[in-house]
Amino acid sequence: MEVEVRGGTREENESLRKLTEEIFKDSGLAKKQSKVLIVVDIGIPAFYVGIKFKKDVEPIKVGDIASIREQSGKTKLQINEERYYDQVIEKLGTFYGKENVEQSERNIIYINSTDENVRDIVIYDLTEEIRERTIDVLWSILPEGFKVRHFKHFEDGFILVSTDIPQIREFYNVIEDIQKEFGGSWDV
């Protein structure tokens, strides 16, 4: 994880960088971020945070955790990862109806139809969990009184502005600058 802090004095930036790194490490999220950029504007005052997740933080799909094959007009799924049993059954039930999903063994599920798209069903969206946990961790990094917050999310990250004054145009300009630097598609 690369942490960069700009805007304060060299000493202030360094201490905030160290604090950010330590808190992310303690939370176990340091390996999930590729870049954390904090821009401090203590004059306003406002803190801008840009987060970019690592590429391996992607949603888990049925195809990733199960062997799928057709068998006499049905689809047979053999789930290889025990921790996702519940989620798979729940998701398949939602997609095909509970009456069409049958669990014959602990790790074997039959669907009463054949569907090629079954492997693309998202079982567990890790990105969303990482996003939520990262936001939660940020509350303990950003100054406490800065409770006016505005987010802009994109597929593999987000930008946040946190301040203790009402929102002003300046915020959006800085957000746009960070967006250009980070790239990514917006408003997901």
Binding site: G8, T9, E11, E12, S15, L16, L19, E22, I23, D26, V40, I42, G43, P45, S140, P143, E144, G145, F146, D164, I165
Partner: protein, 301 residues
């Protein structure tokens, strides 16, 4: 003037040491036996220390100075949230307790932020009840300077702590004590805490000198002992019902119920009510007792 010390030694013949303290007019504040060891906190006039040191050497004990032993210090955090607690505020508190201080952590209602920061009059009065204070104010110089202006009215000695190493024109500032995510136990961090202690000690020495010019009618340790001997204060908040201040005491008992009783305490030839003022604490329902000076009572300096 009485000074506080801690004796650490074996339990064998420690009664000789206690007798020596009493013979010299000192006061044993606390005795903590731990299997074969004993810790004794005591107060004694400074000029008698040489004699006592000889006894300590004979008993193969250890003498530790506790310069804040007669003080109650407020450690003020911008709030009681995870941003400021337990590090570095509790670390500072723990460190000062090693030097005998009684510490109270005060969390301000709105001590965070830049534009929304404020310290109310009541909070100032709570902090002023202490002998000294340490303010922990984040990691940005601009914010620390703004917050520092709000503290101008305080008359007690206080140290400001924050992230930047140095801040120009703020003499009572110690840096490298901004927000921390872990316990301060590295050598550099211990050095920083030592710096806070030394600066506070310097400031408190001035206060002691000032008190010495027109001494209190009785040393607070002497009044503490008189109160504890004459009234049953068991069942009080904490294990130390009477806390020493530089100029008096905090008695951890409900004001309405106890202040009349306390004011009737006999200290020497005086009644305590006549040589002190008692008021209700702003912090909680305890009694703040401020001793009058010799000149106020009419004994002259």
């Amino acid at each position: 003037m009485f000074k506080m010390h801690l004796y650490k030694g074996g339990i064998y013949r420690h009664d000789e040491f206690i007798e020596a303290i009493e013979d010299l007019g000192g006061i044993v504040m606390q005795k903590t036996p731990m299997q074969t060891e004993v810790d004794i906190v005591f107060a004694i006039p400074e000029y008698d220390m040489d004699y006592l040191k000889k006894i300590i050497k004979k008993l193969k004990g250890e003498l530790i100075d506790i310069p804040f032993g007669d003080m109650e210090i407020a450690i003020v955090a911008p709030s009681l949230s995870r941003h400021h607690l337990p590090h570095p505020v509790c670390d500072m508190s723990e460190f000062l307790r090693r030097y005998g201080s009684t510490t109270n952590i005060v969390g301000l209602a709105r001590g965070y932020g830049k534009t929304i920061f404020q310290i109310s009059d009541k909070e100032k009065r709570i902090v002023s009840e202490h002998d000294a204070a340490i303010f922990s104010f984040g990691m940005f110089e601009e914010c620390i300077l703004l917050k520092e202006k709000e503290l101008k009215g305080l008359t007690l000695p206080y140290v400001l702590c924050g992230g930047p190493g140095k801040i120009e024109n703020v003499s009572n500032y110690v840096g490298n004590l901004g927000r921390k995510s872990g316990r301060m136990r590295g050598p550099e961090e211990i050095k920083t805490l030592e710096e806070v202690k030394n600066l506070l000690l310097e400031m408190v020495d001035d206060v002691r000198e000032e008190i010495g010019k027109d001494p209190l009618i009785f040393p607070p340790v002497y009044v503490k002992r008189a109160i504890e001997q004459q009234w049953d204060l068991s069942g009080s908040l904490g294990d130390n019902p009477v806390v020493l201040h530089l100029d008096g005491l905090r008695i951890k008992k409900p004001f309405d119920e106890y202040h009349e009783r306390i004011s009737k305490t006999k200290v020497g030839e005086y009644e305590l009510g006549k040589i002190s003022t008692l008021k209700k604490s702003n912090m909680n329902d305890t009694i703040i007792l401020t001793l009058k000076t010799k000149s106020e009572v009419g004994e002259g300096p």
